[in-house]
């Protein structure tokens, strides 16, 4: 177990290094001259070559790329990601940390919504295979995975915001503001989770120990929940963990639509404004979060499933 963790941590370090290079490269390989861009933005008119050269020196862009990377990454390790070019020259790290909780709030609510809808639906579908419920859940899951969230968002806005006037559409001032964005964001994950709950429960229900339980006269409810669902839960948990990454990615689009001031909206605004330090910081930050989250999922998996634990010991 310890050896497994040590090996995972070693490969983690390599991937994090890669993530930092990728984040840096995305900002510095972009076409166009960032020094000219920034100079003309601050001046508000065409900049002369001397002015651009001055700005380049000030930004350190005249130094070799490796040197720039080392100083950027060195700062990043100490939590200094530079200053944003838009956003009143705020610190990139401050901006990211300020926006993170709002995105996490959205993602967690969406995940809870998805689980609350998907698990009961999946259980119902597995319990009565090929019933109307089963087919209905299949159709719902297929639609959930195919209809784009950015289309559903506007349908929801139209019905609940404009016609019924039940919910606010834009902004983030009250709990009601959370409802439509999190439903939109939950759709994709709910679709996957429904199918997965159904298939992993069906697999468990086919096991011998379930048949033994039934033969011994256990009530079917007890078999289903105590012996069936409990053993089907590990793959479900893994997918929940993994789809957090996709939720955070989906949040970029959802936040933009609902004007939700989270990480995703920050990133898109940075992209549209060509705010390279902020883009680099965002990529490094989210990359690190995803890598750490994947590690946590893997470790939880090892911890939860004895079969995997023995394999990990052997390795």
């Amino acid at each position: 177990m310890r050896r497994y963790i040590v090996r995972r941590l070693a490969s983690l370090a390599v991937v994090l290094w890669g993530v930092s290079i990728l984040a840096f490269a995305l900002g510095s390989l972009a076409p166009g001259d960032p020094a000219r861009l920034l100079m003309e933005r601050t001046l508000g008119h065409q900049a002369t070559d001397e002015e651009v050269a001055g700005m380049r020196q000030e930004l350190g862009l005249d130094r070799p790329a490796v040197e720039q990377y080392v100083s950027w990454a060195g700062g990043a390790v100490r939590g200094d990601l530079g200053t944003s070019w838009s956003n009143r020259n705020d610190q990139v790290s401050d901006l990211l940390l300020e926006r993170l909780p709002r995105t996490v709030m959205l993602a967690v609510t969406a995940m809870l919504t998805a689980v609350l809808v998907a698990v009961p639906l999946g259980v119902a579908a597995a319990r009565r295979r090929n019933s109307v419920t089963d087919h209905a859940s299949r159709v719902a899951a297929l639609l959930g995975a195919s209809v784009p969230g950015f289309f559903v968002a506007y349908l929801l806005m139209f019905v609940f915001g404009v016609r019924l006037r039940l919910l606010p559409i834009f902004g983030f001032n009250s709990p009601q503001h959370l409802v439509l964005p999190s439903i939109t964001l939950a759709l994709g994950s709910a679709a996957i989770l429904t199918r997965l709950t159904r298939s992993s429960l069906l697999e468990v229900l086919g096991e011998d120990y379930i048949r033994v339980g039934r033969a011994m006269g256990l009530r079917s409810r007890a078999v289903l929940f105590r012996h069936g669902l409990r053993n089907a839960v590990i793959p479900i948990l893994t997918v929940i963990g993994l789809s957090f990454g996709h939720l955070l990615a989906g949040a970029v689009i959802v936040e933009w639509i609902f004007n939700w001031p989270g990480l995703g909206k920050l990133a898109l605004d940075a992209i549209h404004a060509r705010d390279y330090p902020l883009i680099q910081g965002f990529v490094l930050f989210t990359g690190t979060v995803f890598v750490l989250m994947n590690l946590a999922i893997d470790l939880a998996y090892v911890w939860a499933d004895p079969r995997v634990r023995f394999q990990a010991q052997g390795a």
């Binding site: 490969s11 390599v14 991937v15 890669g18 993530v19 290079i21 990728l22 995305l26 390989l29 972009a30 076409p31 299949r138 297929l142 639609l143 995975a145 195919s146 209809v147 784009p148 950015f150 289309f151 506007y154 349908l155 806005m157 139209f158 404009v162 990454g245 996709h246 955070l248 990615a249 989906g250 970029v252 689009i253 933009w256 990133a267 898109l268 992209i271 549209h272 883009i279 965002f282 990529v283 989210t286 990359g287 995803f290 890598v291 994947n294």
Partner: protein, 306 residues
Amino acid sequence: MSEIQLIGSPMAPEAEEVAPALIGAERVLQPLARRGVFRRLMRDWTARIGFVLVVLLVLAAVLAPVLAPHEPLALEGGSFESPSWSHPFGTDRLGRDLFSRILFGARLSLGTAFFASLLITFAAVFVGSVTGFLGGAIDSVVMRVVDTILAFPSLLLAIVVAGLFKPSLWSLMLALASVWWVGYARIVRGLVLAVRERQFVTAARVAGGRSSRILIRHILPNVLPPVIVLATLEMGTLILAISALSFLGLGAQPPTPEWGAMLNEGKNHFFSAPHLMLFPGLAISAAVLGFNLLGDGLRDVLDPKS
């Protein structure tokens, strides 16, 4: 030999020990083309719906100039007209016929998705087979690159990459391909590693075949079919990603009749003219649903467990 062995374990015809050089692309690809797959696919009602949707989409794309009642860019009607006989889906702000624009949009969505998946497959097969076949330092360096890119959700990274360039359908396609190839490359590499150890490869090597020839003649034919199947399964995901990026303003630009870009244009007039978003949204949904249904059916038919 059945189709089943295509996924996971590459085929191993009994004759391979006897005449290794005879195992060519035709023999391996043959099972995919067998009528059995299509017939079994059509047994499932959801796959049938998917097939119909995809055929309709392809027809719309191919026949757009014939079917469209108006020019997609012509300013012909009044602004924001509701659906009527002359404009079945209504008109947009500039009086362009929405139905015609959506028909032409099918070309862009399908075309972009198709070329993106070609690019992805080429890049993945090249990188995956070279690294898997050669191994060593190149392999470990490239695989670390792959790990790094896979650490991100693909769509997120594609958004950032697309944002670096002047937005167009081309930059969008390159951005998607630059992120999406990694997952495929890892699969190709795994397949190559498995095939490399097979006896017919050893036999070819003993017979004095050059490495490049062994890779192209003996290994690639066993690797390509599953990768092509995978690329087909993912068409729906690609179409969704293309329209998402265009919707965010990172892909096709107005006045291009791309569905995601049309949604983006429509959102400013959403409350007064909801049909501007409804029809492009339905078009994207139908296209993605079609490919997903077909893909699910195909996966069931080809999956050894079913």
